[in-house]
Symmetry: D2
Subunit: 381 residues, 4 copies
Amino acid sequence: MSADQEGKPVRIGMVGGGPGAFIGAVHRMAMALDGRYQLIAGAFSSSPEKSQEAGRELGLDPARVYDSWQQMLEGEAALPEDQRIEAVSIVTPNHVHHGPSVAALNAGFHVICDKPLTISSALAEEIASAAKSSGRLFALTHNYTGYPMIREARELVQSGGIGRVLKVYAEYLQGWLVDPIEESGQKQADWRTDPSRSGPGGALGDIGTHAFQLLEHVSGEQVTRLFGHRSSFVPTRKVDDDAMVLLEMSGGATGTLTASQVCAGRENGLRLRIYGTEGGVEWEQENPNDLRVLKKDGAFEVRRPGNAYVGASAASLTRLPGGHPEGYLEGFANIYTAFAREIRGEQNLEHPYPTVEEGQRGVAFIEAVIASSEQNQWVQL
Amino acid sequence: MSADQEGKPVRIGMVGGGPGAFIGAVHRMAMALDGRYQLIAGAFSSSPEKSQEAGRELGLDPARVYDSWQQMLEGEAALPEDQRIEAVSIVTPNHVHHGPSVAALNAGFHVICDKPLTISSALAEEIASAAKSSGRLFALTHNYTGYPMIREARELVQSGGIGRVLKVYAEYLQGWLVDPIEESGQKQADWRTDPSRSGPGGALGDIGTHAFQLLEHVSGEQVTRLFGHRSSFVPTRKVDDDAMVLLEMSGGATGTLTASQVCAGRENGLRLRIYGTEGGVEWEQENPNDLRVLKKDGAFEVRRPGNAYVGASAASLTRLPGGHPEGYLEGFANIYTAFAREIRGEQNLEHPYPTVEEGQRGVAFIEAVIASSEQNQWVQL
Amino acid sequence: MSADQEGKPVRIGMVGGGPGAFIGAVHRMAMALDGRYQLIAGAFSSSPEKSQEAGRELGLDPARVYDSWQQMLEGEAALPEDQRIEAVSIVTPNHVHHGPSVAALNAGFHVICDKPLTISSALAEEIASAAKSSGRLFALTHNYTGYPMIREARELVQSGGIGRVLKVYAEYLQGWLVDPIEESGQKQADWRTDPSRSGPGGALGDIGTHAFQLLEHVSGEQVTRLFGHRSSFVPTRKVDDDAMVLLEMSGGATGTLTASQVCAGRENGLRLRIYGTEGGVEWEQENPNDLRVLKKDGAFEVRRPGNAYVGASAASLTRLPGGHPEGYLEGFANIYTAFAREIRGEQNLEHPYPTVEEGQRGVAFIEAVIASSEQNQWVQL
Amino acid sequence: MSADQEGKPVRIGMVGGGPGAFIGAVHRMAMALDGRYQLIAGAFSSSPEKSQEAGRELGLDPARVYDSWQQMLEGEAALPEDQRIEAVSIVTPNHVHHGPSVAALNAGFHVICDKPLTISSALAEEIASAAKSSGRLFALTHNYTGYPMIREARELVQSGGIGRVLKVYAEYLQGWLVDPIEESGQKQADWRTDPSRSGPGGALGDIGTHAFQLLEHVSGEQVTRLFGHRSSFVPTRKVDDDAMVLLEMSGGATGTLTASQVCAGRENGLRLRIYGTEGGVEWEQENPNDLRVLKKDGAFEVRRPGNAYVGASAASLTRLPGGHPEGYLEGFANIYTAFAREIRGEQNLEHPYPTVEEGQRGVAFIEAVIASSEQNQWVQL
């Protein structure tokens, strides 16, 4: 970093996130919240018209709105160093993570990419190689790790606060795919249920990987062996809309991971519970500011962000005093802001954002559950 | 029933429940609450002294306090019909359910017995046969079905209120066995971790069967196939203290059942969640008066007992107006009172109390999970 | 107590509680739960026929079922000492608390009476005098003090666990009287809204006194001054159905007490919150097993009954292990059982049950709120 | 608005919000989230050095960072119309709301100002006059009205969804001022407890006005009469740190409003409950995405944002699908974004943001509570 960039917003370009997209808008709000980014370029859609339309709405210079991500990378690379983008945000469907990631890294741009990393372990390995060889930074937006109480749980568990981990329960229950809404063209459902775009996992990739990543992130352990079962409750659906997995962890714990998108009435029920020899932690995404800390021999307590008693990791991700709820966007912004700080070379957290390695684990997890489910046997991970 | 017995308390004798027992006292409070029983005899302990001690504390006639259940059955049978006990309550460890059950039934007594029914399918079949051949009534105290909101859930689910059932999640998490407290002689832990008394299942039999029975009771479906995994997290423990099971249901649903007694800090976390094509139900034993009813297209509602809007089944099990919490003992008493009403020939609920057949299902479930866990494959149930 | 009575159930007679009564049945279940009472006499209704009907349903000897409480007291007193009742339970409307209380005490019976104590301070004083001069025991069923977590809160607050008390908030919100259901003869509403039977306070007496008693019980302080406001939202109603009170406490705290029976949709919303210089306690009757303990500088904790960490007072009122919810009837039974233990001369709690003096405070509170409300000024209490 | 400004971010300058300020940073994040503002000028502190320091950190052109708000207004007015700021955000202590508000309005700038409006009714009237005469827009950041579920409650209540309103309970409990932290220079406590800067109300102005505004906003009724009581629990404190108020509403309802900053352990406990003849609504700021809707004759339901069933008003303030929690900053941003949309002349909500008239009501409320508290009598409002 040249000294004159210190503290300056990171110039960034976006791939995907055009009209009708959900997650692109989320990424833009996450960039905006802390003022650490300047979105100045984009290839927002595979349709050049829609890309331009998005650019106009965002107030971008039309010259910086491109017809494709390839053109964006080329065009930006041709600009003077102090004008061109420094980083690329990739918010396309899963099958278009690999291409722009590798190309952007190789072109010298940092990359922040939506999850899951990509649609196969082979492609994941290529992204990881590119990240390594390019020397550029790569972040994966497993945004739930941006919640302060997830960091508090992580800090507590990994410092031995609940003893040796014995049991883990990760679940992610949604209901929005209980009907075949992809058949009537609902955009979010459409690509998520098309294996050529979502990859081989449906619910497994879309939400199961979040639960998996969160579990390993908080416990500090790895899933070593699993037994899986997948279903498509909507008969015409080409990917799973439900998965259940029995787990064994590297430290000897066992547990379950369930992901379902057919639990009618459930909104976004990501929940993590970990129990050890001395106590436990319990957390729910829909009420993210309460962390229950259970104790073997005492009353359970509820830790909440913004209070003086929380640990350094959680405190670093909190903007407001206690009782002022921060939510999904703030957690997402925490990932983006940490990434910007790393780009600017600032002192940062011990684990500022999810990495390409965590993305590889996620892809391997999808493949392992599929394999186990097909073979009806336990598989290593 | 002779006409002069109408409305009179049922004369009952107890097997087990002597000094230091937990569940025996619970059964006695459950009998007492609604005034439908008169406890007038007992063989409270395998130690005659302790049996007499318990009888004294309960104010029983010493002549009706026996040294063994065999003596009690014999002694009572010898009394005039209007003086002898009419029913036997069996609250011994699991391995002493079969003997007194079969003998009492054959001696013409009704039997109400603690769960699980017994320690093997063969013995379970003998109890079922005795119940059938004797023409006496047999109830199993799967007490959680006595909660009004469980009945409300059952009525809702079985009348199609959540559509076709797709997903089921039953869990029962406790933490009290995370340490080897059986080694220091804790009475409750002692027999529950001794396979000669608890039977082959530890956590599986003690709490897993509750979760299993509740799941089938509410869903109205049967578990048809399962894949299980058992653990003993305390190395010296001779029975499982943790079990995880993947399930397939008779109506096509899938789900998980988890039972653990090593989740430190968890008290008595029995939870049931069932989701269908139109909505779902969610219930937690530690907060038993709230039944969450989820709707595919609307806000979820919380139904509570004692209100005019609840169904007939729940209403019949509620003593108090809305907002006056009834709990574990009231639910337990509901089973006992329903049993007394059946004995007295009164009009009763469509499903007043858990039956011997449900007990057989529970034993079969234990055996199936053990088989699956050993064979590492799916098994039929 | 003669030695041969040790541990024997207390022989008790009931005044009121005939067909259709709500609270009479509650008192009987509260007596039954712990087996410390034998209900053997009663004057259950002002209608002799209904009294006999109730007696029959309860299986009483018809000779012990009386046409009036006067006859019951006379008839029982004439029986041999070891056969006659020892105590009287009074569950009549408020205007029939004073008569039987004074007469029963003077006739040598212990008395346990429903709240509020009576309908005027003058009558309350007469009951207190009779209790004193007779040497008999008198308990008032402010049943909410029977909840273990209320005792835990009391023990914590009075031992300085939250520092000096600064703020108190007591509220009791119900909705069942939002419509003039007394006009269609609803029995519970009928007498409660008739000042000749309920006394001058409507909601104030029926539920406001519970909130008031609980507040003084837990805080260990007295309300010294208050400013009140009463309303009758149903225009034809002759008593208040809503009251709001500003409070000053003997230790310098201030707060509010609100009682309403026109909060449509509210079931039985009794809630107590007390904050001091170091922390606070928060409790809700509809979820009575959770006591929130707030801390000035730490995470709040939730204490629950049946766990080893709770104090002696709460522990003495708990029958079951943690996670087995006890509710309204168990709390009510705790009052009855404590009363029986006192009658039997057993070692007991430091404050086993609400006393006649607390009843006098309650009546004085009603009168003070009425006076303040009429005069529009602060009044002493 | 000239056509070329359509959709362009609003150019804004800030008064206050320099180093160490809390609420200034909140306003900036609220501006940033939806990309509707460009912060390009500021007089961030009464210290020119600190003002420049803040400007540097925010990446502002040093020429647009001013030594005082007077200089900012003058300097900006002198710039070409398409460069100068269009609006001023005022985030100073209460006593510096009036000066810059009036001056900015008169200079032709729109104003968005923190609450309470100012420190006396006379000054409030001057701001209202300036707003009217200038033709500029004025918004007051009673940010809690930006929560979608508050709008849902408002829409429901005002459309008759709970019948005629009978009871209102507004409370705002915090604990952070239980100790005299102003004496050790805590910046937030310092000015809030200094009547020359906070105005005559302490807790009353700081948080009581939020509760008051929210109550009138949701109920659609006005407080017409009140009886107040104020305290300073910290003896050396020059303003109230606690207030309790009995209320009468324009539609005949009664209720209470309590505001306290000495409830140790309470974070930011703003709660609103309103009950009518047919049901009620209950909402808590610390869990802002749950709106309880009570029904006289049915189970209560919980409405949550992002679902298809919520009303238009709430839907317009929600960025994410159900189950993705939005919090304090999103609610705050909703106020800012609505203000920007009004400035740009876009179609907007029926009540996009709190107005100067609501600010006047708040100041009048403070004064009425003080008057009532001093006179010990009910006062009109």
